[in-house]
């Protein structure tokens, strides 16, 4: 697969190293000559000095025959433009953009970028995982389906404790797929009773995440 990586910072460098090991043909587009020299020294002739937002640079880089373009600069604007030019001018089948400001995520999706990765959100999620009281953790986004896989902890004082799954006010298209409790992991049925402290793995629509959290974690008084 021929993959173009826009941005030769730390992320671009390590991404390229990984993809090269997998046997792909990789090219990094980087504006900074010092970074270009460093990459060239380390990885060989896999870097071209130039602005990945410019159509001319992308043409010289052979974007027309690229299978994928991944824009990972520190600037959301640059990542957006590089992906858009690649997608609409060079018909690159798959574009992936790094998003630094989570506020831009919706805009990127609206403008047709295939996959967005918000570095800030990823860091937040990893930190949240380490906070023991955090009830809902995002695990995975199912691309193009507006569905997410999340993990929810059932607080001991939750109104859901002792209830059967069928009795929970789950939002539409939300499904509890796994319960990990004191008896180990079970695939819950509608008659499974929620244990206090259990971890639930659920699939839900992005906009229903909060309602799902509420259905599982609301305390008895707040019901």
């Amino acid at each position: 697969m021929y993959i173009i990586v826009v941005g030769g910072g730390k992320l671009g460098y390590y991404l390229t190293t990984t993809l090269l090991k997998e046997g792909h043909e990789i090219l990094i587009l980087e504006k900074d000559p010092a970074k270009c020299d460093a990459i060239c020294e380390e990885l060989g002739s896999v870097v071209v000095r130039g602005d990945g937002c410019e159509a001319r640079t992308l043409a010289e880089a052979g974007t027309e025959r690229a299978d994928m373009l991944i824009a990972v600069t520190n600037e959301d604007e640059d990542n957006l433009v590089a992906c858009q030019v690649a997608k609409h001018k060079f018909n690159v089948p798959r574009t992936i953009a790094r998003i630094n400001n989570p506020k831009n995520e919706a805009l990127f999706k609206k403008l047709g970028i295939d996959v967005t990765v918000s570095s800030t959100n990823l860091i937040l999620e990893h930190i949240a995982e380490e906070v023991p009281t955090h009830p809902l953790i995002h695990l995975l986004t199912l691309t193009g389906r507006n569905l997410e896989v999340v993990e929810i902890k059932v607080p001991p004082n939750s109104a859901a404790v002792g209830k059967r799954v069928r009795e929970l006010a789950l939002p539409p298209q939300s499904v509890i797929t796994l319960m990990v409790g004191k008896w180990g992991a079970v695939v819950p049925t509608l008659d499974t009773i929620l244990e206090p402290g259990a971890q639930l793995i659920a699939v839900t629509r992005t906009e229903a995440k909060e309602a799902l959290r509420e259905a599982i974690t609301a305390t008895k008084g707040a019901e």
Binding site: E25, L27, G44, S45, V48, E60, A61, G62
Partner: protein, 149 residues
Amino acid sequence: MAKRMEATKFLVPLNGERVDENTLRLACTIARSEKGKVYAIYVIEVKRALPLDAEIEPETEQAEKVLKRAERIGDEMDCEVVTELLQAREVGPAIVDEAVERGIDVIIMGMPYKKPFGEFELGNTVPYVLKHAPCRVLVWRESVDIEEP
């Protein structure tokens, strides 16, 4: 008795310039005295817009001519010359990779005397090879009177 240089594998990158012939003859002379072998390579630089294994007709034709001529020079000088045509994104790294792969003892590179903007320039390939080659590198610069009219 003079000490031998302990080199038997010589790599000579060619690119169709006038300096090629003298460089190859020098390499053959040294190789013959060392009972060694000369590897003559021609590297075609492939633009990123094309896949690395793309067939580039005019360049390939030119490269084959240059390599055939190299074989003839080898025959004339009674020296074994192995030729190879390579395609790469950049010439410098391709030469270094080839030297590593073949366990070359000395790279002998020819360069013309050129002053593109009134200043003598080494270009990109020679400095790259000098910096990165793991083996000895000999640069043969053509004399001024040959290049200048």
